[in-house]
């Protein structure tokens, strides 16, 4: 992989994190929660995190282009190019996110407007992740052309987004007794559970990719893909093993147990995703050649 492809990987991961993070936060933090100053602080913290991230992602997307000036033509082929569609959707997603954040900070009482923008943002985000995955599901690259690719992209989005939310929740709510958060703790429990399920799906998907690599690329134990799939699986298992006791303690003690756990999982998962994407590119085999 070249440096420009790494910027593409970072663009993809950061955008996925923003989409997953935005959708999950909007589902979790209901508009009636806006009256609670603690939750409001959390929401502001999330937006303050997502906003620079999406801007960084958009900037990074230019770095893998040989001639960034010609990006003005990138919407010329919306009728057949998934890349063209992705570029359009990521632009709309970024504009909507910036608008949402600005309205939330300046006019927090405009709840109906915020709701409309949030719904549009969520729909755009889901289509964006779908078009991102369709860029890779090419009939000319059999290793990538399976259901595993969209599953991988959607799982990564909600996994990274969910973990980002957990980090913000922990930072903002760590000192509060959970009873002060009323029924919000139940939503955090659901997020814990969702993260464990997503980690398991992602682990299953990695094993499936391993199988495809064997079938199509005739992978052997010496191949990069083999080592990568194995490492990614180990990192996922480690994340699950850290997350399950945290989930248990949260439900028993009704309190976040230390900030370190999520930071470790976040690091492990970013590492797993980076290794995974490297493996994804390494598994590129054009039919015949």
């Amino acid at each position: 992989m070249t440096g420009s492809e790494w910027t593409l990987v970072f663009f993809t991961l950061i955008t996925q994190m923003c989409v997953g993070g935005f959708i999950l936060q909007d589902i979790m933090i209901h508009y009636r929660h806006h009256d609670d100053p603690n939750i409001l602080k959390v929401k502001k913290g999330i937006l303050r995190t997502l906003l620079p991230l999406i801007i960084i992602a958009v900037i990074l997307s230019f770095f893998h282009l040989g001639k960034p000036v010609h990006a003005i033509y990138s919407l010329n082929n919306l009728q057949s190019s998934w890349l063209s569609r992705e570029i359009m959707l990521v632009s709309v997603f970024a504009i909507l996110l910036i608008s949402y954040a600005l309205i939330f900070w300046r006019y927090p009482e405009s709840r109906s407007l915020l709701k409309i923008i949030a719904i549009l943002e969520m729909i755009t985000g889901l289509f964006l992740i779908y078009s991102m995955s369709r860029i890779y599901t090419l009939s000319t690259i059999p290793v990538w052309n399976s259901m595993a690719t969209p599953v991988e992209f959607f799982t990564a989005s909600f996994l990274l987004g969910g973990l980002l939310l957990m980090l913000v929740f922990q930072r903002r709510l760590f000192k509060l007794e959970i009873r002060e958060l009323a029924n919000f703790s139940r939503r955090i429990s659901v997020l814990y559970l969702l993260l464990i399920i997503l980690l398991m799906i992602d682990l299953g998907n990695t094993i499936y990719y391993h199988y495809i690599d064997y079938e199509i690329s005739r992978m052997t134990a010496e191949d990069t893909s083999y080592i990568i799939n194995l490492t990614k699986s180990i990192l996922h298992i480690a994340s699950i093993l850290i997350l399950i006791p945290q989930f248990y303690q949260f439900n028993i003690k009704k309190h976040f147990s230390g900030v370190l756990g999520f930071r470790i999982i976040f690091f492990l998962l970013i590492l797993a995703e980076l290794i995974g994407r490297y493996g994804f590119y390494a598994s590129y085999v054009s039919p015949g050649f």
Binding site: L65, L138, Y284, S286, G288
Partner: protein
């Protein structure tokens, strides 16, 4: 609609690579770009009959460039519409629109579009369309000393050369390539043999 196509006769190709050199010379290509490549293919094994070792080996060459497909995956994938197909079927890149995203090279099963580090743009065989417009042959066809390369209208050529594509060419169903081939005579009946590209480092 007219569709230009290349023809290659695998029987007489000596692997001299004059086609590659002519292409490089005509388009002033740098070292790392090969719009036309000659793949050296071999397969088979030795069978044992008592003390006698009998060769069941097949070796052949394939000279391959962009196949200017009827259903070009690169044209569908290109976000800027820089990759275009002419009325006569020739697929070419408009450098004024290409942003160098390399997506066409992922979409193409023949590895035809190649990235030029000097310009930051994608490049590929354009069938020497300037020569075609002047009524001349593409430079690779003109340079071939064995006359194994030819070009013409696809459907007429397909009638003359009905052979199916052979290793390492992917299934024609993917992009409907405008490429006709005469299989090597030694290959007949041995299509299911295990083959490999011998000069992989050279052509990749």
């Amino acid at each position: 609609m007219k569709q230009y196509a290349f023809y290659f006769d695998s029987n007489a190709c000596s692997g001299c690579k004059a086609c590659e050199m002519a292409c490089r010379d005509k388009h002033d290509l740098p070292e790392d770009l090969r719009w036309r490549r000659v793949y050296e293919i071999a397969g088979g094994q030795w069978s044992q009959d008592n003390k006698l070792s009998i060769p069941e080996l097949v070796a052949y060459n394939i000279s391959l460039s962009c196949n200017h497909c009827e259903d070009p995956a690169c044209v569908h994938a290109c976000p800027t519409s820089a990759m275009q197909k002419r009325e006569d079927g020739i697929v070419f890149i408009d450098p004024e629109k290409c942003m160098g995203c390399k997506y066409c090279s992922w979409a193409c099963p023949y590895d035809a579009p190649q990235y030029d580090k000097r310009t930051g743009l994608m490049t590929k065989c354009d069938f020497c369309m300037d020569y075609i417009d002047q009524g001349k042959e593409p430079s690779c066809v003109a340079a071939c000393p064995m006359r194994v390369l030819d070009f013409g209208e696809l459907h007429a050529m397909k009638k003359r050369y009905p052979d199916k594509h052979v290793y390492p060419l992917p299934t024609e169903q993917l992009t409907k390539p405008a490429f006709c081939i005469s299989q090597h005579a030694h290959l007949k009946g041995k299509e299911n043999m295990e083959f490999s590209i011998l000069n992989k480092e050279e052509v990749s």
